[in-house]
Amino acid sequence: MADIVPLLQQQILSARDQGTKLNIIGGTSKAFMGRVASGDPLNVGGHRGIVSYQPVELVLTARAGTPLIELVAALDEHDQMLSFEPPRFSAASTLGGTLACNQSGPGRPWWSSVRDQVLGVRLLNGRGEHLRFGGQVMKNVAGYDVSRLQAGAMGSLGLITEVSLKVLPRPAVSCTLAFDLGLEDALGLMNRRAAEPKPLSAACWLDNRLYLRLSGAPAAVDATVRQWLGQGERLDDGDAFWVALRDQKLAFFAGKAPLWRFSVNPTAANPALEGDWLIDWGGAQRWYRGDASMAQMQAMAEAAGGQVSLFRGGDRQAEVMHHQPQALQTLQQRLKQSFDPDGVFNPGRLYGWM
């Protein structure tokens, strides 16, 4: 429960003066993400604690180094949740890292992403200025949306020190159905189900099984189960499956093979690539294990209306994020410059050219 902004600020200013670089570190649970890190560690893990939480306002504000599990514990007491189901790659995973890496779990298409739920941030820019953007209210259109811009920036625009989030009530009940289905049939069914006004809250396909989660008022969930069950099976330990999926603890995620993440049109035909696939987010997020060239993967992602990244493993000296056209590259370099003119933060972590 400490405010260490002055210390962080001093480290930034001294790096700036000395022309050194900083590697932002929270709970180190996502050190595998992005390109290989360089620079002196700038540890935000000590900047932690819930600043304010008003259940009735559905708003929580916490320091960036606060572990997710601490937030979840506070929310649990009031039957509320981080609706974006952030992955806990370890118990040390932090709020700031979750936003910087734009990490959201299985409920994302229905319950929003971390980016969607962010209401405001405080951030130290490369000039060491501690700035506040957005706020602690649901609707706020004053100024550019700097808060959501941070989602996925991997610290390249500054050090997030505090985040305000919209939180939601936990659904009264959840129930998971499983169906034996091949990939193509499962993709079709998950999309058709998502177009129905039913309390669907997650849809995943793995090992020729389609998993659908229903969440909400008991009567609504029960009625939908009766309509949808058919040849399917109602799982007793459904929640355990979604937690393991969220935290990448399923067997699919084990081992050293490179893990690729496709973020694509949920209805797109799956890329014709032999090997292990896992489909999440109702078809909008697809995982592949195996060696492949970035160029080949990018072409497949684009054919599916989206982008690809090399999420874990493989060559992390090379680019791991989808190629950016020159115009967008220039624009992002200029934006980086506007926040961090001396390039102090996370050099080359997101892209080699940044």
Binding site: L131, N140, V141, G143, P169, L328, Q337
Partner: protein
């Protein structure tokens, strides 16, 4: 970059007419008149030229010419905005995207629609209806406002507590940079690699680029919706009841509050059966599956009673639901009948501060001798005080603006913000330094520079330059005379 001689008006018109239908390059005052303002009509300016291109290539060409000569460009949709964000620049071009009004495709299975920026918000929902889908954000101007303008303002509506704002409901945009270069931002997936440029563009008020295409998400139409109307003897009780619903874990589709002035005006106008003696009224709409609505409506009715509602009425049919909403939806025109003019404010506050803010507002109302009626998106804390005034009384508009500024300051003081959904534009640019300090404003300016170094996209709106701030701080409130009455809707 800038040519030695900047073209004069005649030369610019001639340049534009080389590639745009001459009738769509408007240079005479009479035809330009409808473009002199947006929905906030006391801020008026006549532009140099208005152009209505009908291809992206033409828009690119307009931008290239303007960029080359440092001519300001003000993009415009339907002109329903409420912050003078689309007010022309005297030396600039109004770039109307009205002709980009085609829905390019609807993909019912992927639940998305690709549309041109001039497509009306409601037209998307109408086109998607036969597939059982609709577009979520529903600003009150949805009959007329365009999706391009919605992206520029990050528009909300009465359903945003549950369904989000524009930023939550779009997948991608095609846009043109100030130089006329094409940029694709976002994808058909739910996110893209790297920093979230789509969020940055949304709500940027035409300062960063020109939107030429938007892909929106569509939602399945709920099976059922019902609304509960509850009357209370005090605003505090009603505010507590709102908290009670949220605490119970119910996220209503819409949750609106009206105060006594707004209730009476709305009832006189719409005859919806609102209790005339109530101090506060809540409208709570619940949607979802049939079973869910049944369960939640019963809980809401019980909660309202337990929080001291003097009457509770639940819609039993679609007709009755429409009638109960009619009062709320006509609150603005209704207030227009009890006052020659009104000025609509748009602050957001933490809900817990509502009673305090309303009390303080009543005090200010007495101080300024101006009546104020309140409608409130209670679920998300977005407050719309309507200050009643008469523009024909000398000095009264100036007094109204000052009163409005005090309300916005109050919103910031209690932890809220100066604009929840109408945008900053010109109207609230003087209040930006209340919400943001100089370093923050400088950071905004640096972002603007990254996109538009010469500052020709919608100059003077959205974000004050530091020079501005210093002027604003030292300047007494200086206002423009109202040329017409001020009506707006939220």
């Amino acid at each position: 970059m800038t040519e030695v001689s900047k073209p004069d008006k005649a030369r610019l018109v001639e340049l534009l007419r080389r590639f745009i239908d001459p009738e769509s390059v408007i240079d005479d005052a009479e035809t330009q008149r409808p473009y002199e303002c947006d929905g906030l009509s006391m801020y008026c300016e006549m532009p140099l030229v208005v152009v209505l291109p009908d291809t992206v290539e033409q828009v690119q060409q307009v931008l290239r010419i303007c960029h080359q000569h440092s001519i300001p460009v003000v993009a415009r949709g339907a002109g329903t905005g409420l912050c003078a964000g689309a007010m022309p620049h005297a030396e600039g071009v109004v770039l109307s995207l009205a002709k980009f009004n085609r829905i390019l495709s609807i993909d019912p299975l992927a639940r998305s629609a690709r549309v041109q920026p001039g497509v009306r918000n409601l037209a998307i929902t109408e086109a998607a209806a036969e597939q059982g889908l609709y577009y979520g954000p529903d600003p009150s101007s949805q009959i007329a406002c365009t999706i391009g303008g919605n992206v520029a303002e990050n528009s909300g509506g009465v359903h945003c507590l549950k369904y989000g704002l524009t930023v939550h409901n779009i997948l991608s945009v095609e846009m043109l940079s100030v130089e006329g270069e094409k940029l694709s931002i976002g994808s058909q997936g739910l996110d893209s690699c790297g920093m979230d440029l789509l969020a940055l563009i949304t709500g940027s008020e035409g300062l960063l680029g020109i939107i030429t295409e938007v892909t929106v998400k569509l939602l399945p139409q709920p099976e059922k919706a019902q609304v509960v109307l509850a009357a209370f003897d005090s605003v505090q009780q009603a505010a507590d009841a709102v908290g009670g619903i949220i605490s119970r874990g119910i996220i209503p589709a819409g949750l609106e509050m009206m105060d006594t002035h707004a209730i009476r005006a709305a009832e006189d106008f719409a005859r919806a059966g609102y209790p005339g003696n109530a101090q506060a009224l809540l409208l709570c709409e619940v949607d979802g599956t049939i079973e869910e609505v049944q369960e939640h409506i019963a809980q809401v009715e019980g909660l309202f009673a337990s929080f001291g509602a003097t009457s509770v009425r639940t819609s039993q049919s679609e007709t009755e639901r429409a009638l109960l909403w009619k009062g709320r939806k006509s609150a603005f025109p209704a207030v227009g009948r009890i006052s020659p003019d009104y000025y609509c404010m748009d602050g957001t506050i933490p809900r817990s501060q509502l009673a305090h803010v309303l009390t303080e507002m009543q005090r200010l109302s007495g101080e300024y001798q101006l009546r104020v009626a309140n409608v409130f998106h209670a679920g998300d804390g977005n407050l719309h005080p309507l200050i009643l005034f008469d523009a024909n009384v000398p000095g009264e508009f100036e007094k109204t603006e000052e009163f409005g500024a005090r309300i916005l300051e109050l919103c910031v003081q209690v932890g809220g913000c100066i604009t929840g959904e109408h945008g900053v534009g010109i109207e609230k640019i003087r209040q930006m330094p209340i919400q943001f300090n100089e370093q923050e404003l400088l950071q905004f300016n640096a972002i603007k520079d990254a996109f538009d170094p010469a500052g020709t996209l919608n100059p003077g709106k959205g974000v004050p330059t530091l020079r501005h701030c210093q002027e604003y701080r030292s300047l007494e409130t200086k206002t423009m005379p109202p040329s017409t009455s001020v009506k707006g809707a939220a």
